[in-house]
Amino acid sequence: MKKTKIKTSEGAKRMGEEPRLIDTDVHNSLNDPKELLPFLPKVWHQQYIESGFEIGGKPFSSVGLVRKDAIPPNGGRPASDPEFLIKHHIDPYNIDYAILTGTPYMNAISLMYDPDYGNALAIAINDWMVEKWLKVDPRYKGSIHVNFSDPVAAVKEIDRMASHPNMVQVIMCSAARLPFGQRYYHSIYEAAERNGLPVAVHPGAEGLGPTHAPTPAGYPTRFMEWENILPLNFMGHINSLVCEGVFEKFPNLKFVAIEGGISWLPHLMWRMDKNYKALRDTVPWLKKLPSQYIKEHVYLTTQPIEEPSDPKHLVQIFEMTGAEDIVMFSSDYAHWDNDNPKMALAPFPRKMKEKIAAKNAMQLYRLYEKVPEGGGVL
Amino acid sequence: MGVEPRLIDTDVHNSMADPKELLPFLPKVWHQQWLEGGVGTEGAKTFTSIGLYRKDADPAEGVKPASDPHFLLEHHIKNNQIDYAILTGTPVMNAISLVYDPDYGSVLARALNDWTVEHWLKVSPHYKGSIHVNVSDPEAAVKEINRMASHPDMVQIIMSSASRLPLGQRFYHPIYEAAERNGLPVAIHPGNEGLGPTPPPTPAGYPTRFMEWENILPLNFMGQVNSLVCEGVFEKFPHLKFVAVEGGISWLPHLMWRMDKNYKALRDTVPWLKRLPSEYIKDHIYLTTQPIEEPADPQHLVQIFQMCGAENMVMFSSDYPHYDNDNPKLTLAAFPKEMKEKIFAKNAVKLYGLDKKVKDVERV
């Protein structure tokens, strides 16, 4: 399986400039929960108004979850005003495209106890995304929310939304009842692959709703401990996706692990490869080293970028694992732990930086050209 | 004076040839349960086509590997010129903390410790023992630590890495207090993740097949280390050492960097921590080599060690006689000499106080 390559003929037609910076995780949010009502059937209004996206609490953070300086002038919630977000984040950093990922609560609609409610929310969020955000600026690209607790409905929703030109991926929460490699989810991957859409997962609901403890050791006590250990879930899912042969069954599927950390890659790759050398016969559908599937199918995002006291060490980690071809810049705007593009990529050599800042995302999402001045399809 | 040990194997799985071996050490009232149910936590572990043991380690036709102390001495210790072997029992023995009935778990702990002394430690001074405890009853565990700690050849406490609660939590603190007071490190060993009353082996749920399960065991170790540091266990027990046996190594840079970064923002939520989380790991946690990670370019593993100071925390282990055991002659071949010396012996010499070779001890 090759990486999506730009065909020469396609390339020749393109006149515009290549993007230089793509932000793959921007959390557009609702200012007022009522914003969603026009997109939600009346029958769900009471439940939505009274319970919203509620799936239980996680450990308390003294810093809060959003940046204190990102409140729009109208006093609303950070990242709830598409015009202000452009002024506050997109323009100042010269971001060519922002992949809108909704909020972690939106992503977590798959964890509602009632899958019918989850389905209604998915549809409403997607329509809201198109109306309130994608129509505002061509630099915004959307993620299709799906409710994986009802794969049939999820497939229907992917098919409904995939033709929208500014929807560039499917998004779901990383917290789950079953590991993502298992056959329960395969129809979702079939639909994503058929529509040429990557599937992205985002953390934030680990241990909430009907999911498992966020670590195999149990529930962390405080927010820092919880936040430290979120990547375990990503490692568990990627291990499952590879071992279950998802990328053999869906050879064109790409999986985006947003905000799940990066530097665990060497460990996981080496351990999987070593075990595969002994236990290949138990996963006879795998034809390559497990690390090879990761390199070809899994993308990761930078934020929260690891910050070793010697920044060279992070570059070494990238060199060991080929991470420079699978990692994409993300700011996580407007969350408390967001990264500044000017600083997060500073440790990397130029070529690596260019790939991480834009080239990898450009190929994955087929965003080959910058939006022309005053142009673009809305 | 003599020279210091050159090779210490920190994970050797001494086992029983026959469950009946334990009966003399077990009160009569528990005999039926032991003979009919064993430890009873095995549950539905994923199947492996290779089996769990080396196929060349049977002491005799049909006899369980590593169940004969004399054979093990010849087959493993002498052949590999191992100065000391830290006996860790089997993963099933380590699982006594996970049996539903804590009273049963506690008598098994006592019986296993007496069996270790009688059947193994008396056979050879090359053998050093681990004290089994049942952490689901901390009071009983403390009693057992106090009972066994004075035995000169017991060098650490051992428990299962699979647990119902993260190991940093206050429920376990009396055990750490007893370990610290007796100068014994606390070791944890994997193999029971997801079994008995423990949470699933990954936050994503249950792996499907053995390879997937085996790939992902280190998550539990990362969760435990994170909990131990954040809960301030090493501030409360500043002399406590913790040994993460067979839990992988190369995840250290990631975990250290992530913990340090978060600490810089969230220090006020763990005001008992006075240093970077990575510093607690470096000062208090030991890890063992097997199954050593094998990147295509072995220098990458050396780089990982250099990034996180692992050369001072990692100790050689063979995992004899498990299928995935490491050969001391090949493991770490690419490592610089000084690093290798620390990993093969010096770190374990320091941790367990085994600063003399057996022949020099005997001379004294």
Binding site: D69, N340 | E231, P271, W272
Partner: protein, 118 residues
């Protein structure tokens, strides 16, 4: 060093700084424990506008599972990552090598002045 008038003392309150711009540099003027301080509105960690963070106290270093609140209104907490800075010294509470940039400040009657090398 040049002297620039930046505020009237009536504009500066505990908890709420005045953020001024002098020669292209944003500076937060703080009143802490009766003293005035001028800190650059730039977090050395990730270049966030640190002076938009809350002024608060913190949990003092303590024994395991003990909680003691203190240093009320002496801590500036960055609005992005929540790094805590000592408003009297500019030091990050975790890493003593990380500190906010300070400008000399002078009070003359009701007026406050900062000194800059430009």
């Amino acid at each position: 060093m040049k002297k620039y008038e930046v505020a009237n003392i009536k504009e500066i309150h505990n908890k709420k700084p005045k953020i001024v711009e002098v020669k292209g540099i944003e500076i937060g003027i703080y009143l802490v424990d009766g003293e005035y301080y001028a800190w650059r509105n730039y977090c050395p960690h990730a270049a966030a506008p640190v002076c938009q963070g809350v002024v608060c106290g913190t949990r003092l270093p303590s024994m395991v599972y003990n909680y003691e609140y203190g240093r009320d209104q002496e801590i500036l907490r960055c609005p992005w990552h929540g790094w805590e800075f000592d408003l009297k010294t500019g030091q990050h509470l975790v890493d003593p090598n990380v500190r906010l940039r300070n400008f000399p400040i002078e009070q003359d009657g009701e007026k406050l002045y900062v000194f800059l090398n430009r």
